[in-house]
Amino acid sequence: MKYDLVIVGAGPGGTSTAISALKAGGSVIILDRKTNVGVPVQCGEAVGKTGPSLAEIDVPKRAILNPIRGFKIFSPNLTPVVYAKSEAEGYIVDRRIFDKELFARACELGADAMVGANVVDLIYEDGKVSGVVARYFGEKVEVRGEVVVGADGVNSTVARISGLRKFIKPRDLDTSAQFEMVGVNIEDASLMEFYLGRKVAPRGYVWVFPKGENRANVGIGIGAGMGEKTAYAYLMDFIKNNPRGKEVCRGAKPIEFRVGAIPLGGPNAKNVADGLMLVGDAAGQVHPITGGGIGYAMVCGSIAGRVAVECIEGGDVSERALSKYESLWREKYGHEFSQMLALRSLLEETEDDVLDDLAKILTGENVVELTAGKKIGVVLRAAAKGNVKLLRMLNELRKLQLIQ
């Protein structure tokens, strides 16, 4: 049997692609290397606060653990910047349930599924991708389709084989370590906490994402190879020695440990080829500073599914035709990603004392605007009061068109 879409990867990107293609009338099969989709979780499990809002993504209700109405960011000397709304703007979810529910939804809508299918090669016909080769319960199987969608994550086989992304430069990767803990001392379970600083988390941050009153994901992501020790060692340092970290984690018990890798070097130069599309982490559709990617994967996947069916119906699945997907998603997020890449480079250069000074004058709203690539409206230069290093930083932000 030949499908319209062969989707590799049953994460939020792949299943969103599937759901939108099915709604547009296409036939779909989803393959995943895992036999248990969504496990192990490799994620902080926060959705809604980075990129697309809750209104733009269909979060499976059963996966919602805790509504989030804001955050507290702590600078290196623990100066807080607080953002708190009255309504929930995001959720901490259970990714196991989240991914499984979306996968089930896609299959209920008509997608076929192969779990435990490890894609090892692409099939090319007349220079066009026309299917995949997978190892499946000890056998080698071929699955053919008009369009192959690589939604197979940070370590995407489809991206590598097609040459769209052969490998990731270490500076464009964050690696993470995370405990899920019970008995965590959380002041306000509706606020996420972030901790910044070179000694805390070089080119990254520590997070405390509450899953309930006393339960949280306590994790860290750092620039791969940028620290003096492993991500795990930085995380343990936070839990044991950081003045706030040890308060938050006093008496807390880890009930799960997990690791992850996050591609935050921005999107690949190209995410389409003849008969091929990339979605989500495989495409690099990840916020370069927060590392958030679920919402982007879902929205971009929806675009990909719709465009793929349109192209198949039009009888043209060439790179040129499929590039409509590339222009549509870049129209939405391309500018934001490139600005955030520049901001990431700036933050990487910023010394801890400047971050501390910045935390004193920024509001939570300012941070939300900044990380969404919007210009901060307030007059910050007056607030900087002749602090030369801070003024220099503000000038850099102005060059990035992030301050008026």
Binding site: I168, P170, A177, A224
Partner: protein, 57 residues
């Protein structure tokens, strides 16, 4: 390079950055193609748990 399987959590970071595509990741473990690996060590530098050693023991 060698992977200490007791520490490895299969995040796939090492495979992502390997410039030679020498590392592949299955559902439960990491597989190294020693014919392709030239012990450059970039994988070890990104490992979040320090599970990778490079060079002679």
């Amino acid at each position: 390079m060698r992977v200490n399987e007791e520490l490895c959590g299969v995040c796939s970071g090492c495979a992502c950055v390997c410039p030679r595509g020498a590392i592949s990741v299955s559902e439960r473990f990491v597989v190294v193609d020693h014919k392709l690996c030239n012990n450059c060590g970039v994988c070890a530098s990104v490992c979040p748990v320090g599970a990778i050693t490079v060079g002679d023991e």
